[in-house]
């Protein structure tokens, strides 16, 4: 069975082709990052998806050496995301589905992220935990089996990637903030500035990063400009350390709470090398199996949508052409016919 996947929920226009569960091709159209905007990537617009989607789909088909007539189904993200951008992908997929007279499958974007862990990773089996940590999300999921997921942790305010980005802005560093802080932190002392791990009463698995913005802002306000410059590696190292230690603390607690010993780490923040290093030490010391999927599968991409769609199709689940985009879709209310 061959499934074409399409993803347009936010910034990225992406298409991928999956044959019998194996990924043939994953194309992501990402526009240039305009660093001069200092933290702003002005690349989002439904019109942009409209302009790129046809090229992206055709490129994915060509690279996979698959003809449209060979497709068995079209899988597409229908939420969560932005109404305007979801609509572009959904309508394109519906059009193809009608034209080719093949089923169409609406896929939950978050389910896609959980499935990205299984691409090219045959040794990884259920049940597993998944820490999804990016600019938009910081969540821990318990994945029992296909279609059976439970969110056991979430951020109460900002995502970890956002904390990196806004911290970098406060420190006067460029965009994207995560790599900037990581770079400057390399020669810094992570214990020099004692930022504390934010805790939440009665919800010890949850995250809260919003208060760290205030902490670094006022640490800087108490210093002269030259002093900030001199201390920059230490500021970056200390700030990075508290974010990473918070992530690792919640991972440990989630493992203790569920007894599940495998964890996948997905999302942009998974690229941070200090985080990888500390996760590895923690895992080696406690016999936990960790897995970092390839970066191309843990940022927004259509490969994960095609894989999840393929699994749905195998279970005989397809969607009605009446399916509408649902911007606030949760994993509890997926609709399949």
């Amino acid at each position: 069975m061959i499934v074409l996947g399409i993803e347009t929920s936010c910034d990225e226009t992406s298409a991928a082709v999956v044959q019998d569960g194996s990924l043939l091709c994953n194309i992501v159209y990402t526009q240039d990052i305009h660093a001069e905007y200092g933290g702003v990537v002005p690349e989002v617009a439904s019109r942009e998806h409209d302009i790129h989607i046809n090229t992206v789909v055709n490129t994915a088909m060509k690279k996979s050496q698959i003809k449209f007539n060979d497709l068995d189904a079209i899988a597409v993200t229908y939420g969560p995301g932005l109404m305007g951008t979801l609509m572009v992908g959904l309508n394109y997929a519906k059009g193809l589905s009608i034209g080719l007279d093949i089923p169409f499958i609406g896929v939950n974007h978050m389910e896609g992220h959980l499935f990205a862990n299984l691409i090219d990773n045959p040794g990884f089996t259920y049940p597993f935990l998944c820490l999804l940590v990016s600019g938009g999300h910081t969540q821990i999921w318990q994945v029992n089996k296909f279609g059976d997921y439970q969110k056991i942790s979430n951020t109460r305010d900002d995502a970890a990637g956002e904390a990196f980005d806004k911290g970098a802005r406060i420190l006067g560093l460029g965009y994207p903030g995560g790599p900037q802080i990581e770079k400057h932190a390399r020669n810094g002392d992570p214990k020099k500035f004692p930022f504390t791990i934010p805790r939440i009463k009665n919800a010890e698995l949850d995250f809260s990063f919003s208060g760290l913005k205030t902490a670094i802002l006022y640490t800087c306000k108490r210093m002269e400009d030259q002093e900030i410059k001199n201390e920059l590696p230490h500021l970056c190292a200390s700030y990075q350390e508290v974010i990473i230690d918070t992530l690792i603390d919640r991972v440990k607690k989630s493992i203790a709470a569920t007894g599940i010993m495998s964890i996948a780490i997905a999302g942009g923040v998974a690229a941070n090398s200090r985080f990888r290093e500390k996760m590895k030490i923690m895992a080696d010391n406690s016999g936990i199996k960790t897995f970092f999927p390839k970066m191309e599968y843990c940022t927004d991409n259509a490969a994960m949508i095609a894989i999840a769609g393929y699994e749905r199709l195998r279970n005989g689940e397809t969607s009605s052409l009446d399916l509408k985009p649902i911007p606030n879709l949760s994993l509890d209310d997926s609709i399949y016919v």
Binding site: S46, E48, L82, S134, G135, D157, D158, L217, P327
Partner: protein
């Protein structure tokens, strides 16, 4: 908004900012649009977390900085927009943002100043200021 509870509020902590948001929700009605401005860490999202809770949504209210628009279903449809990482007004128009400016929604916009030229006239503007590490000042103007 029809009637504002105050024109200035001084909050002494993040938790007070959230609590005053919960109370503020009593004065919010369908069709209202709120434009929030203020520096990083001045309490905009914290305040709105309270307001959205007060409007009857009991799930997590997270920052829309990266997701751009978060939607919540409570008694009313609540739209939480953040212009922090997208400053181009044309792109917001392309995203269909104008569709939210009608009587079916309650809309909150953070870093809203770039959208002023396209916002309806009867919006409520809220400016957030740092006074000290914990103290925040919120100024409110109805148009």
């Amino acid at each position: 908004m029809k009637k504002a509870p105050w024109s200035q509020y001084i909050s002494n902590s993040a938790s007070e900012t959230e609590k005053v948001g919960i109370k503020f929700a009593e004065f919010v009605s369908e069709g209202d649009i709120f434009a929030l401005t203020g520096d990083l860490a001045s309490g905009k999202t914290t305040f709105l977390r309270g307001v959205i809770k007060g409007l009857g949504y009991d799930g997590p209210v997270t920052s829309p900085t990266f997701t751009l628009i978060n939607e919540y279903s409570a008694v009313n449809r609540i739209i939480h927009i953040d212009c922090y990482r997208e400053h181009n007004i044309e792109r917001w128009i392309d995203l269909g943002i104008i569709e939210y400016f009608n009587n079916n929604y309650i809309v909150f916009i953070e870093w809203a100043d770039i959208l002023y030229p396209m916002l309806p006239e009867n919006i409520t503007k809220m400016n957030f200021y740092h006074s000290s590490e914990n103290v925040r000042i919120i100024n409110l103007t109805t148009q």
